[in-house]
Symmetry: C2
Subunit: 159 residues, 2 copies
DNA sequence: CAGATAGTTTGTGTAACGCAAACCATTGAT
DNA sequence: ATCAATGGTTTGCGTTACACAAACTATCTG
């Protein structure tokens, strides 16, 4: 039985690799973010909020795929650090419109600068173009194809 | 002050996006993997082991960046499911050489097939080529540039 | 032989959740 | 006006995936 040809190659799934590289980055990021009073979860929320530019907490919960009760706590953190603002929606005063403050935007940018070393270390095997490609792919992947973040989503019953 | 030109654009950091998309995949993967008796952490370990094709538990711990005591438990799970094998290293009988079994390789492939729907859902905004690119980038990023997995690493004092 | 090293077990603590229950303010339908 | 549904909040409970420390065994190396 010499040299079996490689048959039935398993499909290339990103999940495990994503998990792996994400963990490596997260471990290092924690110590970088700590001085800024942030956890990685906060970073994710801020990033999403920057993109969405104002959404209800429900929308945010849906996007983050987090339980809404936990989103409350997350936002409490961010709000008491003045990084986000909860405004009552004028159309439906039950709703909170969550938005990045200027401070929040700056802090986020600051964090992103601070994380240079982390990504240099973990993504060291990728050159600048490749990292940019990676970013673009991830960005595209996370930019809602589906339900979309806004008002009309309220009318959909099949989530 | 009309139309401020966008100045001082923050750098494109992948961390948060990685966290986000990874979470989305992980949430869904859990239910797919459960019938196979696997958790996502197991998948990551199996994936790494497939690539490394035999390494000590220390090397594995270093690669996964996990505490070695927790690696023990992880491997106990996998070993009792016959997915990996711990062989004593002949050169240094303190060491365990950890390797994927045939069963393990098959189970891993099976899991990867089963995860098709998950990736279709989460990475739906990416076409086939883009997903392959993503895979390649992640694969390259996780394939050790540094200490490298092998024998001589034992001699390095500066970790 | 002595001290370091690989792995294991046990035990403790923590962070990040999910989930359920009860509550308020508000809305929208009757 | 009334009443059920909705968005958000708080509290509290359980789980998982860790990190970290301590103590132990087997083995290696000087």
């Amino acid at each position: 039985m010499p040299e079996l040809p490689v048959v039935n190659q398993p499909p290339h799934r990103c999940g495990a690799l994503l998990d792996h590289v994400t963990r490596r980055i997260r471990l290092r990021s924690e110590s970088v973010l700590a001085p800024l009073g942030l956890r990685t979860r906060h970073l994710v929320a801020l990033t999403v909020l920057r993109d969405l530019r104002g959404c209800s907490q429900q929308d945010l919960a849906k996007t983050l795929e987090m339980d809404s009760t936990n989103v409350v706590g997350l936002l409490n953190d961010l709000e008491s650090a003045n990084l986000i603002e909860r405004r009552r929606s004028p159309e439906d005063r039950r709703r909170h419109i969550v938005e990045l403050t200027d401070v929040g935007a700056k802090q986020l940018a600051k964090a992103e600068f601070a994380l240079a070393a982390v990504e240099d270390e973990v993504l060291g095997a990728l050159d600048k173009d490749q990292r940019e490609t990676l970013y673009t792919l991830l960005y595209q992947a996370t930019s809602r194809t589906e339900p979309a973040g806004c008002v009309d989503a309220a009318h959909l019953e099949e989530c």
